[in-house]
């Protein structure tokens, strides 16, 4: 009994190499998921690429035109070069400003003895919850050259400062405000985790606070800052709605607005749009690649990850003035825009020459809300928004769960491909993907175009990456032994997933769902390509109402309601995780 078992006649044809043979369970789910992702993401991307070298845009029954490089001729046109310059100038300057604001606020909130640091934290974060194009719309109410509320106020006060949000500086300003939170979040994380030992070492060796900050702390935070800057640059560079809202009245094009305008021109210049799109995507990929390299290097920042107690930097006499600056930013980013929307929603006279009119009897009246809420249009667009967003968020979470499960938990073939394809939408600006989605669903032999379903499909495509990342983080944090033990105890794999893994990932699933819900509720670019009069959603209705002028009060009222919904949505996960 104590013998090692001999191996009589062990076969030479031993399958030591080559690994286990493929089982259907390892192939079928991968293929299904890849097929879904391909239809959602790869087909639209391919159609744009195809259109850029084709004589005609894809149409039903005729996907490809003749091969041509002529579309790239559009790149040499003055208009395109102007748009490229505008895009670069706006993105670079706005990125620098956004990073300065974000990093400054992060430093103040995390590392100084500023008044009410929790408030400073919120100030840094909150602009994120206002969809940027609503911020832009509100700022156009405040700063448009003639009827802007601030310009009316200037006239009341006898001032004449040049204030015009329909200009490149105006756009830079609005971008800087609404993209500062990204830097803020990244830097706040990095600054509050920074181990105090290096700083203390500097102090021990006689450095003053100021020298310590400039010689040790800031250089340590540098990689995080560069990462944040590149992310911000990409987001601004590919942003369509803000540029559209603020740029088009003054005839200022950026690459995204140019793409959209050319496609919708009569006659349509869709293939040239596609050519510009290719350039846009190339820039985004290049810059994202740079970001990867910087983020990969970030490990040298000796972030300890322990909740260490750090010394707060004393601001001294600058404490109050700096706090006032923070309040100033709060006013500009949130209070004034929301106030402007509220004022306009209650403003009775459409043409105002002085703000005093607002305070005259009957000058402000909020009946508009009742009108809006009671109107059929509002009800139908809100209903559409809710349906589309909930369905897109739920199915997006489900797809993300299945993909991430295959990638991180299974030995299926094609795992890395699934992960790669899930990340593709990060590199494709919404304005480009939207165009591809439009063509895809016009061409597809499924009658989806013109229904709410096509919006769901589009949202799924645009948000694949965010969903995948959210779920991946959560799945990686859940010990796989927990699920395996259920299988060992007799549960089928599916049963083990539903009885153990899903309940354990409840928080992660929920927060991904809420994130996707928020992204869907605020998405404007992609639905702009795909909506029809029957399938308007809230973001489109607001944008439309402002673009077409007309019922400005109702438009403003709708925006206020929308903003309230967005704040409630972004607050939800906090309430839950707080417990």
């Amino acid at each position: 009994m104590t013998e090692l078992v001999a191996s009589p006649g062990a076969r030479k044809s031993h399958r030591a190499k080559g690994g286990p043979r493929l089982r259907p369970a390892r192939v079928v789910p991968s293929i299904v998921v890849l097929a879904v992702l391909a239809v959602l993401i790869l087909v639209p991307a391919a159609l744009v690429a195809l259109a850029s070298v084709s004589s005609d845009v894809p149409r039903p029954g005729n996907v490809t035109g003749d091969l041509t490089w002529g579309n790239f001729g559009v790149l040499a046109e003055t208009g395109t070069r102007q748009a490229m310059t505008n895009s670069l100038v706006i993105s670079v300057v706005a990125t620098i400003l956004a990073c300065a604001i974000g990093a400054g606020l992060a430093f103040l909130a995390a590392r100084t003895d500023i008044h009410v640091p929790k408030f400073v934290y919120l100030v840094g974060l909150m602009p994120m919850f206002l969809p940027s194009y609503v911020g832009a719309l509100a700022w156009s109410l405040l700063g448009s050259p003639n009827s802007g509320l601030l310009n009316i106020l200037q006239r009341d006060l006898g001032l004449d400062l040049p204030l015009n949000t329909y200009s490149i500086p105006g756009m830079i300003f609005v971008f800087a405000i609404y993209y500062a939170p990204y830097t803020f979040l990244l830097m706040h994380g990095s600054m509050s985790m920074m181990g105090p030992d290096l700083e203390e070492a500097a102090r021990v060796h006689g450095a003053s606070t100021r020298r310590m900050l400039f010689r040790v702390s800031f250089p340590l935070a540098m990689p995080a800052l560069i990462g944040a800057a590149i992310l911000t640059f990409v987001l601004i560079f590919e942003n369509f709605p803000v540029a559209q809202v603020l740029g088009s009245p003054g005839g200022i094009d950026t690459l995204p607005t140019l793409i959209f305008r050319l496609l919708n021109a009569t006659p349509s210049r869709g293939t040239e749009s596609a050519a510009i799109s290719v350039v846009l995507v190339a820039v985004v990929i290049l810059v994202t690649w740079l970001q990867k390299r910087f983020l990969a290097k970030r490990s040298f920042t000796t972030i300890t990850g322990k909740g260490v107690r750090q010394k707060k930097v004393a601001l001294g006499r600058a404490r109050l003035p700096i706090f006032l600056l923070v309040i100033g930013f709060f006013l500009v980013s949130l209070v004034l825009p929301v106030l402007a929307l509220v004022v306009v929603s209650g403003q009775t006279s459409p043409y105002m020459t002085s703000l005093s009119e607002l305070f005259a009897p009957g000058g402000l009246e909020f009946g508009s809300y009742a009108d809006v809420v009671a109107s059929d249009t509002f009800r139908s667009v809100t209903g559409n928004s809710v349906i589309v967003s909930v369905v897109a968020a739920a199915s997006g979470t489900a797809i993300a769960f299945i993909s991430a499960y295959i990638v991180y938990r299974s030995k299926s073939v094609g795992r890395t491909v699934i992960e790669g394809v899930s990340m593709v939408p990060l590199a494709i600006p919404a304005v480009v993907l939207g165009m591809g989605l439009l063509w895809t669903w016009l061409v597809m032999p499924v009658p989806l175009y013109g229904t709410l379903a096509v919006l769901v499909v589009a949202f799924l495509a645009v948000q694949t990456s965010q969903g995948f990342r959210g779920i991946a983080a959560s799945i990686l944090a859940t010990d796989r032994d927990l699920e395996d033990s259920a299988v060992m105890l007799g549960a089928s794999r599916i049963r083990a997933i539903t009885a153990v893994t899903v309940p354990l990932m409840k928080a992660g699933l929920l927060s991904t769902f809420v994130l996707l819900l928020m992204l869907s509720m605020r998405e404007l670019t992609v639905p702009l390509y795909l909506y029809t009069s029957d399938t308007k959603i809230l973001s489109i209705a607001i944008y439309d109402a402002f673009e077409n002028g007309g019922a400005l009060r109702q438009a403003a009222a709708m925006s206020v309601i929308y903003v309230v919904i967005m704040f409630v949505l972004s607050y939800l996960p906090r309430v839950r995780s707080g417990r």
Binding site: S7, A10, P20, D479, L482, M488, L489
Partner: protein, 377 residues
């Protein structure tokens, strides 16, 4: 039920974690897989459980072939009726203790009333009936370990696999639970494979110990045999034999060997060692006698100086630097402790039959050649 593992191989990409491993476990037997971290113990166990797909070989439990790479048989883990206690406990924090233990019974579709009774009975067995309704995340480490055990016991597995089940517990608890595990295993007549890298645990729990090195089993023997006759110097070293000295190549019939790094001859009393050219002598510290004064005449009696002497409770651990020889670890009787201080001149004496001459590695068990059973000296 008995388990037969034949020519099992497992690869992760290019890396082969288990190499052509064969092993049989009798019904009701407790086999311990003992080996260094990374030698492939968990991998072997996961193959038996069905969580990894072997690239070659077969495993049979009772009369059922659960996996056979050559015949494309591969029973999924939930159909194998194999219990697995994970190192990480893997107790589900979102359920109560009772729900955890009821789970396998629910999967077996047992009637409701029976489930509850059986689960409580199993909890009783591991002494946890009083926390049945607590949330599983509220338990201590030792309690979680018992819940994990109870959960697997409740399914009445054909084989029980335990992967370092005690390694996350503190030393005291570990020893208590070790005894309890052995009691349960014997009482229930469980066939079990127990993985550990702790030799104390292995000696206490095993009917047989399989020493695993580098994806292979290099010795399979009873605990006593393993302890007394390690099959190679590397196994002896792993088992805590601290005096291991390389020797010069010698003829197998010689009753003396010369150390490779010192000018010292050591007498043996057996001559049947399998000499490979890379051999060592291994001496357990408790077999060395130490006394003060110059050495009397006799085999393996050497003068030396005490380098360090440490009180360890039951014995004193000394290191003696032999003149012109190596430093030798000695476990001296505590009563002698007072006599030895650093720098004292002493002599050490070593009975030749306590000297083992061993090859560096046990002979590799090759795929096509029937395996010789490695024997000690």
């Amino acid at each position: 039920m008995d388990v037969k593992i034949k020519n099992l191989s497992l690869t992760y990409g290019d890396f082969t974690a288990v190499k052509n491993l064969s092993l049989e476990i009798d019904n009701g037997e407790s086999l311990v897989l003992l080996g260094k971290s990374g030698c492939g113990k968990t991998s072997t166990m996961r193959c038996v459980a069905g969580l990894e797909d072997p690239s070659g070989g077969s495993i049979t439990i009772g009369d059922t072939a659960v996996v056979d790479a050559d015949r494309s048989v591969n029973l999924s883990p939930n159909k194998r009726n194999v219990g697995l206690v994970f190192q990480s406990y893997a107790v589900w924090p979102h359920m109560t203790v009772l729900e955890n233990v009821s789970f396998p019974l629910r999967m077996k579709k047992a009637p409701k009333s029976q489930i509850r009774a059986k689960a409580l009975e199993t909890l009783e067995l591991v002494g946890l009936a009083h926390v049945a309704h607590k949330g599983a995340s509220m338990l201590s480490g030792g309690q979680m370990q018992r819940v994990a055990l109870a959960r697997s016991l409740a399914m009445e597995p054909a084989v029980m696999l335990l992967d370092e089940p005690l390694s996350n517990l503190d030393a005291r608890l570990r020893e208590d639970l070790r005894v309890e595990l052995r009691r349960l295993q014997v009482e229930l007549g469980l066939t079990s494979i127990y993985v550990t890298h702790d030799q104390g645990e292995a000696l206490a729990l095993a009917d047989r110990i399989a020493i695993m090195q580098d994806g292979r089993i290099s010795q399979l023997a009873t605990p006593e045999e393993t302890y007394r006759r390690p099959a190679s110097a590397s196994i002896a070293e792993f088992l805590g034999v601290s005096n291991i000295f390389k020797v010069q190549p010698a003829s197998p019939l010689d009753m003396r060997v010369r150390l490779a790094e010192h000018d010292l001859e050591v007498a043996l009393d057996t001559a049947d060692a399998m000499l490979t050219g890379d051999d060592s002598i291994c001496i357990r510290p408790e077999h060395v006698r130490v006394a003060s004064g110059p050495a009397p005449a006799g085999p393996n009696t050497w003068n030396g100086t005490v380098l360090v002497s440490v009180f360890q409770g039951a014995y004193a651990r000394c290191t003696v630097q032999v003149d012109n020889g190596p430093a030798i670890d000695v476990h001296a009787d505590v009563r002698d402790l007072a006599e030895f201080h650093q720098g004292d001149r002493v002599h050490v004496r070593l009975d030749p039959h306590h000297v083992r001459l061993l090859p560096q590695h046990a002979p590799v068990h090759d795929e096509t050649v029937p395996v010789p059973v490695p024997q000690g000296v």
